[in-house]
């Protein structure tokens, strides 16, 4: 019951904000169709009528909701294409990018965090912390051109742009994953340090287990719970962050579609995207909750611990 209410609330807020933003969707759409030449007032009036933009806001929202619950997110003002189809068509590219970025962030962030914790105070720890600092401080839209210039222009190892091969995927995924990787690294380091000081770790060591087994076998398991929580929210942010990265790399995902929807005041496109992001965030959070039980059998829903 909470889920539909949340989605309803999000859709109302986004619909209101979009419609209160300055700018006339009809005029912007026509300007584009005219090749940059402003349309005549009569053209604008006709298109506003055609798009239903003259109707009161509640009527327009009601119309949108009644269609959305049937899976119809409307049509793009610019192209006339179905928003649901356009989002679905572009979603694989966005998911590919976000999933690869997530995999890179997990594959690098968690092991480096453990290594930094185990080697606390050494050069390795300092290097990892420095990397984490850079990752946290440099936004992905700055990292992206830096990576492009270095790996594509300077070294010529990877294509700067394009879509369809693993080589094309690497740079955008790296740029997108960097911040999340840094966050996971810092969190894993702190969490592992915390766990390594606990009694059961001392007991494991006293039993004569190897340090590798103690850290990777016993310590990391407990340390991962907070990491998984962050991983959930990070996944949502990766999907959102992909919008900017896609725009920079010309990646044909949802992002390019939405950025142009925003600049062209293509309200149905933006509204559809907001709904998609809201559903994604809610589902990811649900998945994170479920994964707690999966990762730690002591946890039971209902707040009861064994």
């Amino acid at each position: 019951m909470t889920l539909p209410l949340l989605l309803l609330g999000i859709s109302i807020i986004s619909f209101m904000l979009l419609n209160f933003a300055p700018g006339d969707a009809a005029e912007i759409t026509l300007m584009r169709q005219n090749g940059g030449v402003a349309p005549s007032p009569q053209e604008v009036v006709e298109l506003r009528q055609e798009l239903g933009l003259n109707d009161p806001l509640p009527i327009r929202y009601g119309r949108w909701v009644s269609n959305a619950v049937r899976g119809d997110l409307g049509e793009s003002y610019r192209s006339g294409d179905s928003i649901a189809n356009e989002l679905l068509r572009r979603l694989p590219a966005t998911l590919l990018l976000a999933a690869t970025a997530l995999a890179l962030a997990v594959a690098a962030g968690i092991p480096l965090g453990v290594l930094a914790a185990v080697n606390r105070g050494t050069w390795l720890d300092t290097s990892c912390r420095l990397l984490a600092l850079v990752g946290a401080a440099v936004p992905s839209y700055v990292m992206a051109p830096v990576l492009m210039l270095f790996f594509a222009v300077k070294l010529g190892w990877l294509p700067a742009v394009g879509y369809g091969s693993p080589k094309n995927l690497l740079l955008p995924a790296l740029a997108l994953s960097f911040g999340t990787m840094a966050q996971l690294m810092r969190l894993t380091r702190a969490s592992v340090l915390d766990v390594l000081g606990q009694d059961y770790i001392r007991t494991a060591r006293a039993k004569g287990l190897s340090e590798r087994s103690v850290v990777w076998g016993h310590g990391l398991k407990s340390a991962l719970l907070p990491v998984v929580t962050v991983l959930g929210t990070s996944t949502g942010f990766l999907l959102g962050g992909a919008v900017i990265i896609e725009s920079i790399f010309g990646w044909p995902g949802v992002g390019q579609f939405v950025i142009q929807g925003i600049s062209q005041r293509d309200y149905p496109v933006v509204q559809g995207f907001v709904l998609y992001m809201a559903v994604a965030f809610l589902l990811i959070n649900l998945a994170v909750d479920v994964s707690y039980r999966w990762l730690d059998p002591r946890l039971h829903f209902g707040g009861k611990f064994n």
Binding site: A38, D81, A152, G164, K221, F257
Partner: protein, 529 residues
């Protein structure tokens, strides 16, 4: 199952998702595409013998429909119009061979012989009539622009166009990109269906289009001006100018359009790349809000107009990639350009303000009148990247003459809604090749682009005379008079004519371009060395 197995399972699931999505590249092709391409990777090397040009565009967000998206179909060499603009931005025949205005509301258009559509069919009067009828039917804007009553076939190579009112510039209007000619028999019957795969007449024909991603065209070997120099052109879309620049630097594309002035400097410093500059076709200027209290006094408006250091704007804001503008039209377009002459003179500007009653009574550097400081609101929009820095530079120039100003970055459509004193704006003033078109839109009371609500009876009268004058010399004279009258009243404040910048690799052989008119880009001559 241990927790490690579970964790590995989770990681595997993520990678599986990635792999599944990777396989989804084929599904990323829109249903509208007629064919899938050999490779979806613009960086994939073509067969050695094939001459392929790769071009980074700004947008590929709608298919190149000749009637609705001529802005894409014409520059990419797919579609052509009956008339076009030449290097001097004058209207010249293209698919037409000439035109005669036989009556104030009747034009006879003579067609070129031997023009073949992409499907091999010959262009004749019946096809052109059918195409023009479809252009009028499929886009209301075209109907409004042309104001055509009907099109008739006179003989196999002549169409007669009847307009609803006297129209001396119809050939100029037929340079509009959405009046492109296509074989009407190949256009989808439903107006809701896009017509990008209709047979057009340009040197290249469409093979595939994937929205926001890429477009592929191949040579039209029966092209009426000769065989195109390339076998194929691949277009990719990058909305960010930095990405277009990097794609050029990395060799992923051969041409990048719309470089930023800063990007042009980078390209200029690379020995394997070259900057090509297109002559300006439009201007950056400021709308004067003629309903704002501060702008009611023509002395104040003139003071502001001569407070603009246009040389500094062109050299500083545009990094030298602009020409100072004292009039509405770029050099060479009209015989009396810069008729009003707003030469930079801050001292004279201060005197004009004093004459208007503005003095700095309290010594804070800002002039006042009746105890009220002269503080202006300058608005502009960010989509034209030169506009915000242009207004910031003007803000400091205004301070120099004792006028305070605040700069606001807003949505461009707000230029029609008041709330400002001056609004930085960008406009093509040379479309149609006739000065009457821009004067009509920007100076006429109630004109489509008269966003500052300028109104002057003498200017209106002169623009009215233009609608009935057909002799070119007479039209130039009336246009000059109207231009002068508008500038005397400071209808708007011109600042500069920006040039358009292209970055090309040294492999590109482009002796035919770039052309001044924004609409023309790829022709049959552009090739590879």
């Amino acid at each position: 199952m241990t927790w490690r197995t579970r964790f590995l399972g989770l990681a595997f699931a993520i990678l599986l998702l990635a792999a599944a999505a990777c396989g989804g590249s084929a599904t990323a092709t829109p249903s509208g595409s007629s064919s899938s391409d050999a490779s979806s990777d613009p960086t994939t090397a073509p067969p050695a013998e094939e001459r392929v040009l790769k071009v980074a565009m700004t947008f590929l967000d709608e298919p190149p429909d000749p009637y609705r998206a001529g802005w894409l179909a014409v520059p990419t060499g797919l579609a052509e119009t009956l008339f076009k603009q030449d290097e001097s931005l004058n209207t010249v025949p293209w698919l037409a061979s000439g035109a005669v205005q036989v009556e104030p509301t009747v034009w006879e258009i003579f067609l070129r012989q031997g023009v073949k559509f992409h499907n091999g069919a010959l262009m004749d009067a019946a096809k052109v009539k059918g195409s023009l009828d479809l252009a009028l039917l499929r886009r209301p804007g075209t109907r409004l622009l042309l104001d055509v009553d009907r099109v008739e076939v006179k003989d196999p190579l002549t169409v007669v166009i009847y307009t609803n009112s006297p129209n001396p510039i119809l050939p100029g209007l037929l340079t509009n990109q959405n009046t492109s000619i296509a074989d009407p028999d190949t256009v989808p019957a439903s107006v809701d269906d896009s017509a990008e795969f209709a047979a057009m007449t340009g040197p290249y024909k469409l093979v595939s289009f994937t929205a926001d991603q890429k477009m592929s065209v191949v040579a039209h070997t029966d092209y009426w001006q000769g065989t195109p120099a390339l076998d194929r052109v691949e277009y990719v879309a990058f909305s960010q100018s930095d990405t277009r620049l990097i794609a050029l630097q990395s060799g992923d594309v051969d041409i990048s359009i719309n470089l930023s002035p800063q990007g042009a400097v980078v390209v200029g410093n690379d020995s394997s790349l070259e900057v090509r500059v297109a002559a300006p076709a439009g201007m950056l200027f400021m709308f004067v809000n003629h309903e704002s209290p501060a702008m009611q006094d023509s002395l104040v408006r003139r003071a502001l107009a001569i407070a603009v250091d246009r040389d500094a704007m062109a050299a500083g804001v545009a990094d030298g990639n602009a020409i100072p503008a004292e009039g509405m039209f770029p050099p060479g377009f009209i015989s009396c350009q810069n008729a009003g002459s707003y030469a930079f003179d801050p001292e004279a500007a201060r005197e004009l303000l004093a004459e208007a009653g503005y003095k700095d009574e309290d010594g804070d550097g800002i002039v006042e009148k009746d105890g009220k400081k002269l503080e202006l609101v300058l608005q502009t929009y960010p989509e034209q990247p030169l506009l915000p820095p242009m207004l910031e530079a003007f803000q400091s120039m205004l301070k120099d003459i004792g006028v305070a100003a605040k700069v606001q970055i807003v949505e461009w459509t707000l230029a029609s809604q008041g709330g400002y004193d001056l609004f930085g704006y960008s406009n093509d003033t040379t479309t149609t090749g006739d000065p009457g078109w821009a004067l009509n839109r920007q100076y006429l009371t109630g004109g489509d682009e008269n966003r500052g609500n300028f109104s002057n009876s003498r200017v209106d009268d002169l623009i009215g005379q233009l609608s009935s004058a057909s002799d070119p010399a007479q039209r130039q004279q009336i246009a000059c008079d109207a231009l002068r009258a508008g500038q005397d009243e400071v209808a708007l404040i011109p600042v500069m004519f920006p040039t358009r910048l292209f970055g090309i690799s040294d492999a590109v052989d482009w002796t035919s371009g770039p052309q001044a008119a924004r609409l023309y880009f790829i022709d049959h001559l552009i090739g590879l060395k």
